[in-house]
Amino acid sequence: MSAPTKTPSAADSVTTGERRRPRRRRQKGIAGNTLWFWVFVGPFVLGLLVFSYLPIIWSLILSFFEAYNTATPSKFVGLQNYVDMLKDHNFISSLGTFTIFAVFIVPLTFALSLALALLVNQVKIARAFFRSVFFLPTACSYVVASLIWRLSIFNGVRFGLANTVLGWLGIDNIAWLSTVSPPWYWLPLVTVRLWLQLGFYMILFIAGLQRISPTLYEAAYVDGAKPGWQVFRYITLPQLRATSVAVLILNLIAAYQAFDEFYNLIGNVNYARPPLVYLYSISLGSIQDLGHGSAGALILAVIIMIVTLLQGRILGFGRAGD
């Protein structure tokens, strides 16, 4: 205001100039952000599109066609493949196999990984060592672990590890993977998955445990809660609810997706064939019935979604305050 000699046009140009510069800078900033967003996210989105969404969409298309030995079918059959799959006793029984598997594996993984986490969390010396030792099997491939389980630990002949131990006790050899009554094959199937995944869930629980404020324990102590079960039951477990729910959901989805250990330990047998092994055998094995396979895969996807949503609703996953 102290410079009345300035012409309005000059003042305008100055102000617009001053105004423009930050705007341009802001635009650059936004463009830069968008750019960096795509640099980081782009490859993954592309991978997701090419390797996940495209196949899912293609699978949806295939599921409405008769598609034997071809991925570009021409005979439209409507919902017939879905009807066939829902009537297919092998598919239904594979869901039964999954249910048995889940009944074993989900609670066992939950309880054992929580127990491990509590133990490892209380260790005062060599913490990193214990955590790594239990986490390491997670890095091992399911196929490799299955081969070790099948060929050396649980083979049915007298020089298998499990049978050698039984031999010391004077017990006869057991054909672990080939015996259906009693169904011993569940033992290798469940133990190999436990060995492989316990460490991972243990780490999730340790992270959860470390988020619990020590003041809660101190308050409990002051109030006279006994260390041990009482503290665990009323402080630790409720505080771990968010982690527990996540572990349960992840675990159940992983169980639905079981393939590697079943395929490598016992192969495609109808008494212990989870849904993915069955779908693989009809659509990608020598049968190449891609129409029915795709319909089955989509039915399975819908079941997983419904169960996960229900589980989340019942257990309160993502509820405010977690």
Binding site: A31, N69, A71, S181, N270, L284, I287, Q288
Partner: protein, 428 residues
Amino acid sequence: MPAHVPNAGLSRRDLLKRTGGLAALAALTAACGGNTGRPSSSGGGGGGAKANLSQWYHQYGETGTQQAAQRYAKAYPDANVAVQWTPGDYDAKLASGLLSSKGPDVFEGHFNIAMVKSNQVVPLDDIMADVKDDFQPGDLATNTLDGKIYGIRMIIDPQVIYYRKSLLDKAGIKPPETIDDLISAAKELTTNKVKGIFVGNDGGNVMGGPALYSSGGEYLTKDNKPGFTDARAAQAFGKLHELYASKSILLGAPTDWWDPTAINQGLVAMQFIGMWAVPGMQKALGDDIGVIPFPKLDAQAQPAVYSGGWTQFVSAKSPNIDAAKKFVKWLWIDKSDYQEDWSLNYGFHIPPRKSLAAKASKLQSGVAADTVKLTQDHGYTDNPAWTPKMNTAFGDMLTNVIKKGADPAAEIAKAEKTVNAELSRLFG
């Protein structure tokens, strides 16, 4: 430009270029898919240049086979042939390979009607015309549909039961002649160290076919109806369960029925296996091996020998069908020295050509000669109308009967339903 906005325009362009490159790379890798196994040099067949062919094999267990296959391919003068040797689940890999032109040009496999319906193989009548009569009728029939020959039998693999003569002598047992004999022999030969027989880790599904044929049945009748549904077939499948339940079979071995390790290591006294294993067994056990066919169900039936093997095909999706056919003719019709080498110098297989089989001296003595004789007398080959889907239903039926002890008649009815549905899809 202010110092705190570093070169924004330039780095953006630069980055766009790079991300663009990345996207292009991803699209390229997605589009290229798998390695076809074809030699990578350019040419592609036309214009006088040598064609590039990809030839697929499953993994043969005997040492030297892969090198032999590569040697044959290399010796072929008129095309560059790359051999793809496939460990693991060859059938599944082949099935997906045949969906596109990125699969093999030439491959070994087992013929069935679905391959023709899906236009996966081409007829080979023109290259077979002159030598047709030199093949066994069964081996021609198993590769023929509607009067056209689609494959050339490479090797014949009879599947029989080999036994340790010394162990049977010691127990005072004669080689089994009926299924009941087999079950009781297996029981008697079982000790706490040695099991009676090894029929595969699944408990004996591989013997389902032989058991069916030894009861007088067959997979499909001549007019393509289920041939495994009568009471005698049910009785034969029931016997397989009896064998399984007798606690005299080896289960959970590190290797499966097609590998002679179990009998070679003394884990069993008898093993159901193919003739390919004879050299390996002779090396480990010397002359201590005898052979029987899968025994007959009872006095009114015949023993059965599944005469399996591998057959060479030309893919209908090959970009070089003519070159591929020429190569197949060269290797599996003209080059009889290679065919002889393939049949006799690694594992033992019966050469499908009568002229070669007649002079196969290695198969003219001992247990190999006995096996050849059993195949001539009791051999049966696959029916091309029997598809993998039917075979899976049949296998599920066997698993339920053998391992779970389910009622054979009820299980047969279930399999029959699937087989009939498949038959009506194929034949209307």
